[in-house]
Each structure stands twice: as structure tokens, then as C-alpha cells.
């Protein structure tokens, strides 16, 4: 079935490029190890044979649309990626008229590394309840029914640790962090022209690559994504030192769901929870 996806995508891409509907199709092709996918940018209809779709197609391609402003572009999105599309549409970062969305019902993505194939699904697939794209112009695959609601068991497990244990855990992770910003660069929600971490006046976070600064970096990034993160987990996948960033983002996701009954990226007109309010709400703060 997934092999069939590849052909459908190639056919659609060919059509879009030949008709001139788009000038580029952003999809996936097979990488240099012969089996893991990598992003592909197809500009000529003759090149559509490069496009593939399989269970190594982890990357969130939506971020690349920010480099294609004003240029009609097609993009392949899985369920999680499509939520990123809605996020960027609701935040007015991309123009709906300039994009053609090829949605793919996601078969799940496997744990892979370069030359390191596995059949085990990535951790994101355990908690994913959005295999069907929420926005698309063309759908590949039959919509599936989702499992029961996410129980956030990974977060609950962290919360059984004491405050000291959690502090020690995150300090150790902060020691690994090299501030490569791969997490930020891979994230469709991180698109600030001047990230807070690069501001000089005030200098919120110094340049030292050291635990104190690293903790501040990771904490604030997680906070800036609160109510916006669509859980594609690309940040965790790209981290060269395997920091479990999903724990931070999902802690916020659970809180936002609990307090505001809100999930990011479900509609292109959604209003994010932190830019609105309800006068009489009780949030356990200030009372």
C-alpha cells in the first residue's frame, strides 16, 4: 500500500509541474545509504522519479515553505506535518494560495539513523493521534481511525521523580547540549528572524556552551512552543546528543490540553491559547 503512495505522489507531482501549477515540489527521496529518506526538491517534471514515500519519511517539510514565499510550491505532508501547515497558516507565515498540499495518511515512521535500519516505530508514533492530514489539496491513502486518547505516560513517568531528581536529569541533559540549534532549525514553529538566544541587548542567554545557559535555551524554547508545538518530534530526532526534547514539549502539550482544551495546528483559523483569554477562567494561578 505504501509502495502505491510513491506512484501516486510521482503522478501528482508530474501533473503539477507540467501544468505549471507549482514551480517546485518538496517531497522525499532516498538518501546516500540507499534506504533512509531525505528531503527532495523537484523543479522539473522529468525528475519526479526521484520522489518516494516510505516509513523513513520523518522530516517535516513544512519549514521549507518559509524559504519559498511568493513561489507556488507543493509540499508532501503527513498527519503531524499538516498540523504544522495549519500553525504557519494561522500565524500568517505562509500564503494558502501559494501552496499545493499533498497529504499522506501516515503509515508511521521507523527509528532510523544513517545506514541504521530498524522496524521499530519512532516514539512519536506511539502518541500520534493524527495519522490523517488535517489539511490537504490531494490525499494519498485511506483515512484511518485513531486509537484512544494519548495518556501521556512518558510525562507521568517523569513526574514520579522528585524535584531534585528532575533537576539533576535536566542538568545532565544540559551538559550534553552543544547549542547546535538543530532542534530550532528543524522545527516549523521556530522561525523568528532573530531568535532570543541571539539577542545581544539584552543578552538573555550568554554564548557559553555550558549547563546554565543550555538549560535556559531549552526551557525558553519549550515555552515559546507552548500551545504551538504539533509534536512532529523532529527536534528530538535531529539532536546529535539525543536530548529527550519531547518530554518538554509534551509536558506543555498536556498542560495546554488540560487547561484550555486546545491542540495546536488543528485548523488554519485557530487562535493560539497564549494570545487570547477567558475572563473568568480558573487556572490555579493567582488565587
Amino acid at each position: 500500500m505504501v509502495a502505491d503512495f510513491t506512484q501516486q505522489i510521482r503522478d501528482k507531482a508530474k501533473e503539477l509541474l507540467e501544468k505549471g501549477t507549482v514551480e517546485c515540489v518538496i517531497g522525499y527521496e532516498t538518501g546516500s545509504d540507499g534506504f533512509s529518506a531525505r528531503p527532495a526538491f523537484i523543479y522539473e517534471s522529468a525528475e519526479v522519479e526521484r520522489l518516494i514515500f516510505d516509513n523513513t519519511c520523518s522530516h517535516n517539510l513544512v519549514k521549507y515553505l518559509l524559504n519559498k514565499k511568493g513561489k507556488p510550491t507543493a509540499v508532501i505532508v503527513k498527519g503531524c506535518d499538516s498540523r504544522a501547515l495549519n500553525l504557519l497558516l494561522s500565524e500568517k507565515q505562509i500564503d494558502r494560495d501559494n501552496i499545493f498540499i499533498i497529504g499522506v495518511v501516515c503509515p508511521g515512521v521507523v527509528e532510523w539513523g544513517w545506514n541504521n535500519h530498524s522496524d521499530q516505530l519512532q516514539i512519536r508514533c506511539n502518541w500520534c493521534r493524527q495519522h490523517n492530514p488535517v489539511i490537504y489539496d490531494f490525499l494519498v491513502g485511506e483515512p484511518v481511525t485513531e486509537g484512544p486518547p494519548d495518556d501521556f505516560a512518558d510525562i507521568a513517568a517523569m513526574e514520579t521523580k522528585s524535584t531534585e531528581e528532575r533537576e539533576a536529569f535536566w542538568r545532565e541533559q544540559a551538559e550534553h547540549c552543544v547549542r547546535c540549534y538543530a532542534c530550532r532549525q528543524a522545527c516549523p514553529g521556530c522561525y523568528c528572524i532573530d531568535c532570543f538566544v541571539e539577542q545581544l541587548d539584552p543578552e538573555w542567554v550568554g554564548i557559553r556552551i555550558a549547563p546554565e545557559e543550555n538549560l535556559m535555551w531549552n526551557t525558553i524554547r519549550a515555552f515559546h512552543l507552548a500551545g504551538r508545538c504539533i509534536s512532529c518530534n523532529e527536534c528530538e530526532r535531529v539532536c546529535p546528543v539525543n536530548i529527550p526534547l519531547s518530554l518538554l514539549n509534551r509536558r506543555m502539550e498536556r498542560e495546554v490540553l488540560g487547561l484550555f482544551d486546545y491542540r495546536a495546528g488543528m485548523s488554519e483559523d485557530a487562535v493560539a491559547p497564549l494570545i487570547t483569554f477567558m475572563k473568568d477562567e480558573k487556572l490555579g494561578i493567582g488565587e
Binding site: H176, V178, P240
Partner: protein, 335 residues
């Protein structure tokens, strides 16, 4: 005659050194393998492909204070950082050792970087040759080899009942003083790395296709993080900033990468490498053109860390092949 040290003897020798000096060795940290100071020999991982981050950190730390300055008696009192700790770096692979050696080029070029020089002087390197290449390795195409001993002080090669010991430098000889080595006629195995990446003539080829749209197309998928530069044993870009806190100023140097947006932004806001393609091209021109022109060696040792770490599979091995192909075509077209 090969000199051999048994595994147990090796471990007790290292344990002895650990009592007096800091020993950095590959060790397991969660699911990573990193060079860390070890307190006992059983923390050392002997059987590994390579570490996630390169050992350049021991000579060019991710964060380093260059000096501190305080106002004193109407003047400034500057205290430069002194490296006074003797360090043993155990288990470094030949490719990484070559990386350190070729970084002597930029760092010791006059005026020499005092901190790099001090780290180099205070560190003794015990290399561990590779028994077999990993899938990402291509050291032999880049001037090294799995048993290349030219850049370490002592080289160990695994044999059946221990390690063959080769003393390379005076520093190595000094460290081995008093260590009992067995004589044996066992020949250490000669590992090979059969991957052939066509790096011969890359300098000329890349010069020819400097303006090719190849770079722009390749950069489409680059997300401009700093991963490749940070895992690389030969990348050395850095940022320097002063930080003043309660009257004391520290000049701090940290890793940086030419790939990040704004790396070349200058006062006034102009950025000569604002375009993604030019930034990506810079990385490969630096490694495969400018560095060899300036320092006589390719700026890549074939460790393959960037190949594994790049989130979007920008693969230097593929790029070298592509450059050779395109460079050759450009050459023909210009007739």
C-alpha cells in the same frame, strides 16, 4: 618483534595513570559514546566505532575563557587562562588524531593560539587503531588509514591477547617508562578501509564549479543548524564575546558554524553569505579548497560523523563525487 600489552596490564597501567593525571577515554553516556574523564578502567569502552563528538574538544573546548579582566588601581588586570593539567587522551582513532594534527595549521600559524598550543603540549595521545571501518568511514580517501600512527604518541592495535604497542614520540616513550611489554612475533592485523571516495584532484575540480547552481540546489534541504561543524574533528570556527558580571570581565570563546544564518552578518546588517547556497558552498570550499591551499592538507579526515549526524543527509562523500563530475564537465565545456 611486536611489543604486546595484555588487556589486564593495559587496564592497570591506565588505572595507575588515573591516580595522577586526568585520563580522557571513550565512555558510555546514556546511549552516546563520548570522550570523558574516567576514574576507572572499566568505564572505558574499548570496542566501539567512534565517539559521537570528536576529541577536538580537548584542545578546542566548546566553551573556553580566554582571559579575565578586572579593574585594579586605575588599570586593568588581565589574567590569561593557563592550561596546567597534564592530560592523557586514550583511545583516539587515527582519523581524529589526524584532525588534531591538521588543526595545528590554523591554530599554530603565527601568531599562534596560546590555548591550543598549551592543550597540545599538555596532552599525550594514546591511539587505538581501528579493527574494521564503520559504514560511514572513508579515511583512506582523505589521507589517513585505520592504523595510521603518524599523529599520536603511542599507537595500540588490537591483537588476540592484548594490544600491540608502538611508541611514536618521546612523549609516548616517557609515558611507557616502567611498563612491562611482552615481545611477540604476532603480526598486528592490517585493517583496510576499502571505500574509495574520489578526492584526488578535488581542489581543481571544486575551483571549476564555484559558480555552479549545484550549491543552491543542494542547499535547498540544508536547515542551517551547526551539527556538521560541531561533530567534525577539523571544523574550528568560533565566536568570541566578552561578558561582564559584577566588575569582572571574561572573554569567552565558543564553537560556531559557518552554516548558521547570520554567521557572516556584519555591523550595518550586510551579510555577504545571506543566501543558503553560498553558505553551504563555503563549507565545502573551506574543507576542499581553501584549507588545502593554505595548510597543505584536505580539511576532512573521513571520519563520517557529519554523514551520520546531518538531519537531511548532506553527505560530503556524495558531494565530492558530484564535484568531480561537474568539475570535469566544466573543464570540457570551456574548450
Amino acid at each position: 618483534m611486536t611489543k604486546i600489552i595484555g588487556k589486564n596490564e593495559l587496564e592497570s597501567w591506565l588505572s595507575g595513570i588515573m591516580k595522577e593525571r586526568t585520563v580522557f577515554a571513550p565512555t558510555r553516556v546514556d546511549d552516546l559514546i563520548l570522550f570523558r574523564p574516567v576514574r576507572s578502567a572499566n568505564e572505558i569502552v574499548f570496542d566501539y566505532e567512534n565517539t559521537n563528538l570528536s576529541p577536538k574538544e580537548l584542545f578546542f573546548p566548546r566553551t573556553e575563557t580566554l582571559f579575565t579582566a578586572v579593574p585594579k588601581d586605575g588599570d586593568i588586570e588581565l589574567t590569561p587562562t593557563i592550561v596546567d593539567q597534564e592530560v592523557i587522551l586514550f583511545g583516539i582513532r587515527p582519523c581524529d588524531a589526524r584532525g588534531i594534527a591538521i588543526l595545528d595549521g590554523p591554530f599554530l600559524d603565527e601568531p599562534a593560539d596560546s590555548l591550543w598550543a598549551q592543550h597540545r603540549e599538555k596532552t599525550t595521545m594514546i591511539g587505538l587503531s581501528c579493527t574494521k571501518p564503520a559504514p560511514q568511514c572513508f579515511c583512506t580517501s582523505m589521507g589517513s588509514a585505520p592504523n595510521d600512527a603518524s599523529n599520536v604518541d603511542i599507537m595500540l592495535t588490537q591483537v588476540e591477547d592484548g594490544y600491540a604497542v608502538e611508541t611514536i614520540t618521546e612523549k609516548g616513550e616517557k609515558l611507557l617508562q616502567g611498563v612491562e611489554l611482552r615481545e611477540s612475533d604476532v603480526q598486528p592485523p592490517v585493517p583496510t578501509c576499502d571505500v574509495n571516495i574520489p578526492a584526488e584532484g578535488i581542489v581543481e575540480a571544486i575551483t571549476k564549479m564555484f559558480d555552479d547552481p549545484y550549491w543552491s540546489r543542494l542547499a535547498d534541504r540544508c536547515i542551517h543548524c551547526n551539527v556538521c561543524a560541531y561533530v567534525c574533528p577539523t571544523c574550528y570556527c568560533f565566536d568570541i564575546r566578552d561578558r561582564t558580571d559584577k566588575g569582572k570581565t571574561e572573554r569567552i570563546r565558543t564553537w560556531e558554524s559557518c552554516q548558521s544564518k547570520g554567521f557572516t552578518r556584519i555591523a550595518g546588517g550586510y551579510d555577504p553569505r545571506a543566501d543558503k547556497g553560498t553558505r553551504l558552498r563555503q563549507r565545502f570550499c573551506h574543507k576542499l579548497l581553501y584549507f588545502p591551499q593554505q595548510f597543505g592538507a584536505l580539511g576532512c579526515v573521513g571520519c563520517g560523523r557529519c554523514v551520520i549526524a546531518c538531519p537531511v543527509n548532506i553527505d560530503i562523500r556524495e558531494i565530492i563525487s558530484d564535484v568531480q563530475k561537474i568539475g570535469a564537465e566544466v573543464g570540457q565545456g570551456s574548450n
